[in-house]
């Protein structure tokens, strides 16, 4: 068995974080407490950059919806033979753009293959719509949708697309016959 080199691993994580400009990386269970902690951590960090109020509000908004999307999949914990395990989700926030003026939020979680087509169709539908189309879809969903037991209203993704003005950049990576890994990247940019 190969000896595990912690020193290398810590150093490489550190380098990865810096080169990618990640300010926060988390893998595991996403709870309400964690959502609160991450948002306040990010708000403090944005204060330290003297970030403007509109941007702060946007980032906060998108973060909450991304984290709540993950926490609603809290029952998706799976252990994979020989492939390690995945917790409820991975959450990353970082800065992007030539002068690091924008933010992006990356999330990933496991989803059953059977649920992929429906989610994919929904994501594509959102991506096809323009500003006004998204507004109408949001209103329709608010009127006709019902809150699930976990408080999901099917509004989070529409809201993210509206708040960011960007397409939802998603992918599904098949893990095995039963499950896939769903990734989502949302970019919050200054100029819209």
């Amino acid at each position: 068995m190969k000896k595990f080199d912690y020193k290398e691993l810590i150093y490489s994580f550190h380098k990865e974080m810096l080169t990618n400009n990640f300010t926060l990386v988390y893998e595991g269970e996403i709870t309400h407490q964690i959502t609160k902690a991450f948002t306040s951590l990010t708000e403090n960090k944005m204060d330290s950059y003297s970030e403007d109020a509109t941007m702060k509000k946007k980032v906060f908004h998108v973060m909450v919806e991304c984290l709540q999307n993950l926490s609603k999949h809290a029952d998706d914990i799976r252990i994979f033979k020989d492939k390690g395990y995945s917790g409820n989700g991975i959450f990353i926030i970082g800065r992007v753009g030539p002068d690091n003026e924008d933010y992006h939020i990356l999330t990933g979680n496991i989803i059953e293959n059977s649920r992929v087509p429906e989610l994919e169709a929904f994501l594509d539908k959102i991506n096809e719509l323009d500003k006004n189309g998204l507004k109408e879809l949001y209103k329709k969903q608010m009127r006709e949708g019902t809150l699930s037991e976990k408080g999901g209203a099917g509004l989070g993704l529409i809201d993210i697309a509206r708040k960011t003005g960007e397409k939802l950049d998603y992918s599904f990576i098949e893990i095995d016959k039963k499950n896939s890994f769903y990734t989502l990247r949302t970019k919050i940019s200054r100029k819209q």
Binding site: K58, K139, M142, R143, L147, E149, L155
Partner: protein, 124 residues
Amino acid sequence: MDVIKIRGTEDTPDVILDAENGIFEFSGRSLPEDVLSFYAPVLQWIEEYIQTPNPRSEVVFRLEYFNTASSKIILDILIYFEHLSKEGYEILVKWFYQKDDEDMAEAGEEYFEIVEIPYEMHSY
């Protein structure tokens, strides 16, 4: 009717529902851990209130932030008062938003596109 007075926290709003003094107010931030259980007593109170409402009700929303799950509940609240308005009761909804918070102003306008109810927009 009993008065509902919920003190806000960093993730739940201040709620005052006081029929006797005609105060119906929601303010602060709304992203409760469990949206349904937080708002259940609120919705129940409003449901009761509309059975024997005041001739005139003024409902105030002064929210800084709400998540999408809360947005659905806010619509439900507005729909209750829309019913009263349609029955001939005098209703006025005041929607407050921070001066540069376009998203909050837009959210208000959107509600009033869905719900037919007299309203006023106020920036502060």
